[in-house]
C-alpha cells in the first residue's frame, strides 16, 4: 500500500459540487451531521482513502467482516447541486499526518471541480446548551456576510486557540489553493455525542447551500440524549443529597 492510497469506486460528474466534511471531533457534531445526510439523501461512495497515517486497525461490522481504517468520499444529490461529503471513523495520528491527509482530500475535491467547502464540527462550551448557536470561521472575509445572513455567528476570540486538525487545515490549505472554505461549529458541551448540535449545523448548511433534508431521525436521537442526560443529572443530585445527609449526621 502506498503511504496514502486512494481507491476509486465511481467517477460521476458532479453539479457545482460543495465539499462537506464531517470527520470525528468534538461531540461528534460534524460526523453525525454528515452521516445524517448520507442516510436521508441519495448518495454513492466515490473514493476510499487508506493511509499509514490512520491507526493500524480494522473495525468489524455486524457479520464480523473486517474493514481497514479509511476515510470516505460520497457524492450526494442535494437537489440543484451535489455535495461531496467526506467522512470516516479516524483522524491522522501524527501532526504531519494531518497535513498530508488534508492535501490528499483537497486533491480529490479539486478533481471533482469543488470550489466551495464547509468543515462541520463542534465547539466545546463545557456545559449543556439548550439552544446551541453555530459559530463560523472563513478563509475569505467576503463570506462573512452571507453566512451571517443565515444565522452563523462570528465572535472574536472564538474558538480560542483557533481550529485544530483536518477541519482547520481544510481552511488553511484550501485557501492556499484558491478555494473558499468555511468552518461551521455547533456549540456543544464536549462531554456527549450531540445530535441537537448536529441538527443546528445542518439547518444552517441547508440555508447556505440551499437544499432540504428532513430531521426526524436526528430529532429522535436528540430526544433520547435528553432523556439519558436527565437520568444522569437525577442520579447525581440524589447522590449529592446523600452526601449532604452524611455531613449533617457526622457533624
Amino acid at each position: 500500500m502506498e503511504d496514502i492510497e486512494v481507491e476509486t469506486l465511481a467517477d460521476p460528474d458532479l453539479r457545482d459540487p460543495v465539499l462537506v466534511e464531517g470527520l470525528p471531533g468534538v461531540g461528534h457534531v460534524g460526523k453525525l451531521a454528515v452521516e445524517h445526510l448520507l442516510e436521508e439523501l441519495d448518495s454513492e461512495p466515490v473514493r476510499y482513502i487508506y493511509a499509514d497515517e490512520f491507526p493500524p486497525q480494522v473495525t468489524l461490522n455486524d457479520d464480523s467482516v473486517a474493514q481497514l481504517a479509511r476515510a470516505e468520499f460520497h457524492a450526494v444529490d442535494a437537489g440543484d447541486r451535489d455535495l461531496l461529503v467526506l467522512t470516516g471513523d479516524h483522524q491522522a495520528q501524527t501532526n504531519s499526518g494531518h497535513y498530508h491527509l488534508t492535501d490528499a482530500f483537497l486533491d480529490i475535491a479539486e478533481e471533482f471541480g469543488v470550489e466551495e467547502g464547509y468543515a462541520l464540527g463542534g465547539v466545546p462550551t463545557g456545559e449543556l446548551v439548550d439552544e446551541p448557536s453555530v459559530l463560523g470561521a472563513v478563509t475569505d472575509e467576503d463570506d462573512v456576510e452571507r453566512l451571517e445572513a443565515v444565522d452563523v455567528e462570528f465572535r472574536e476570540d472564538e474558538p480560542a486557540g483557533g481550529i485544530v486538525g483536518v477541519s482547520g487545515l481544510l481552511l488553511g490549505l484550501g485557501e492556499r489553493r484558491g478555494l473558499s472554505v468555511a468552518c461551521l461549529m455547533g456549540e456543544t458541551s464536549g462531554y456527549l455525542v450531540d445530535p441537537q448540535s448536529a441538527q443546528v449545523v445542518l439547518e444552517v448548511l441547508q440555508d447556505v447551500i440551499d437544499f432540504e433534508v428532513g430531521f426526524e431521525s436526528l430529532e429522535e436521537r436528540a430526544e433520547e440524549m435528553k432523556e439519558v442526560v436527565g437520568k444522569i443529572q437525577e442520579m447525581q443530585s440524589q447522590q449529592q443529597g446523600m452526601n449532604d445527609d452524611d455531613l449533617r449526621y457526622i457533624g
Copy 2:
C-alpha cells in the same frame, strides 16, 4: 541496513501454503500457538525481516550471543499442505510502522503463493476463563460458515474496537490484495501468558486447515499455569481473610 531488510535463508516451493501469524499480543496466545507448531512439526526458517521499525535492540541467547530484533518466516510441513508461519519477539513501534511491516509480510506471503491466511491471537475477557472459546473475524463473509463449522464463534461487537496491530492489518491489507484472511482469537484473561487458550486456537486451526499436531507440551504448560494461578488465588484469599480479621478487631 534498508528501512525494512529481508534476508533469505531458503526458497522452498510450498504446497498450497497457508499463512499462520503469531506475533506477540494479548496473553501471547498467537505466539505460543505458532511456537508450538515449530516445536512439534518439521520446519525450516525461510526469511528473516529486520526493520528500523523494530525496537533498537539485541536479545541475548543462553551463550550471550546477540541477535538483532527481527521477525521470522518458517516453512512448516503440515501433512498435505505447508504452513508459512510468521513469528517474532517484537511488534512495530509506530503506527505507520505497522502498515509498512505488514505490507512487507504480505509481499513475502505472496511470493510463496499464499492465498489464505490466519492471524492468531487472544481477546481479553478480564477474568480467568475455564473453557475459552475461539472468536473469529474474516475478510470475506463467505468464510464465516466453514469457520463456524469448526466451532469458531462470531459475536456482534466482539472484539469491541476492532482488531489493532499486525493481526488486524493482515486482514485489512490482505483483503485489498485479494487474499482470504481470518483472525482466530482465543478468549484469555489478559493478565497471564495462556497456553490453554493457545491450544484451543490450534485445535480450531487443525480442523480448518486439516492437519494434526500433538498437544502434550502445551497441556503441561497449561497445568503449570493453573498451579501458579491457584497459588496466587490462595495467597490472595488468605490476605483477604487477614484483612477481614483486622476490620473485626478494630471495629
Copy 3:
C-alpha cells in the same frame, strides 16, 4: 503542499542585512522584541513558510478569517542597514523538524545575502528580575569582545544545558554555513510574558547593529505587567496572612 513550502511575497535587495530571529520561547522575550521592531520601523513581509512540521491548525483573526500556521520573514529598514526579521506563532513539533525548518530559514537568509545573525530569546531565572541582564552565546569566539562592549554578559555554564530549538540551531547550523550568529538572551522569570526583558535585549541589539528604535509602547506594556504582578503578589500575601492566622487559631 510540499513538506516545507516557501511563499515569496517580495524580493527586495537588502542592504548588508542582519538576520534577527524572534520565535516563541521563554517569556516570549524574542517574539515581543521582534514584534516591537515590526511595529516601530518600516517593514514589508518577504517570505511566508508553511510546513507539515508546524501544528496542524489555523488561527483566527478578529474577523474570524483563518490563517494557516506559518513562520514569516520581514525586511525591516533599520537606517543604514536592513534587518531580515524572522517571527511566527509556532515552533516545529518534532526534534528533526527543528533541524529541517532551521535549514529552510538559513537557506532564505543566505538568499538575501545575510552573513550575520542574532537569535533573540529569554533565559529563565525562576524569579522576578528587577534589572535583567542580557546573556550571550556565539558561534565565533572573536565576537565575544564586541558584544561585551555593548553589555552582553558571557557567563560560564549559562544557560545550563545549552540552547535548545531554533535559536540554538541557528547558531549550530549557521556556523557550519560560515555565518556569524549570536544568541542574545534576556533574563526573565520564565513565568510571565516579559516586555521589560524584550526591551533590554533590543537595547543591546540597537548598539550591536547600530540602529535606533523607540521603546514607549514596550515600556507601557512593562508597566502594565508590573501592576499585574503587584496585584498577584498582594493577593498571595493576603492569602498567606490568612493561612498564618488559621495556624495560630488551631494551634
Copy 4:
C-alpha cells in the same frame, strides 16, 4: 544539512584498527571510559557526525561558543594498534534514529578497515557495588573464550531484556556486516556516574586489545565519588535516626 551529515577532519591510515564505542548510557560508564582514553593517549579527531536524529540543540563551552549536537570519531594511538573511538554527548531521539545512526557509524568504521569492535557500557544492579564485574555479550560464540580469559563474565539472562540502543545495534548490525563486535558492561548502581566501573571495563579492554593506559585520574574521580556517596549515606542515616526518634516520642 543532510539528515545524517559526516564531516571529515582527517583521514589517517589506521593500523589494524579496533572500534571502541562510549556514548552516554547507564552510569555513563562507556563515556567515562572513552573520555579517559582520549585524555591519556595520543589522538586526533577524524569524523564529526551531525544528524536530525540528535536533539535540536547546541552546547556551550566555557567561552560561550556554541557547538551543534554531534557524535565524534577519534583515532587513538594504542601502541601496536590504533583505536577508532566513538563518543559524544547525545543519543538518537527516536527508535529508527538509532538504526540510522548506527548504520552511519558502521559505514565509517568500515571505511577505516575496522573488523573488530567493543561497545562499552554499564549494566545497572540497583545498588552500590564494591568490586564490579564486567559482563559480556558477543556476536560470535567463538569470542567468548578469549574474553573469559581476561575476566569477562558471561551470565545467562544478563542483562535481562538484552541490550538497547547504539551499543546493542553495534552488535546486531555489526554482525550482519561480518564484523566481530562485543559489548563489555561494567556493573554499576545505575544511580551515579561511575568512574570505578569505567576503570574496570578499561582494564579488561587493555587485556583484550593488548595496550596500556594509566588510571590515576579515573582513580581520583572514583575516590571523590566514594566520598560523595559516603556523605549521602551519612545524611540518610541521620535522617533515619531522627525519624525513629520522632516515632518513639509520639508513640
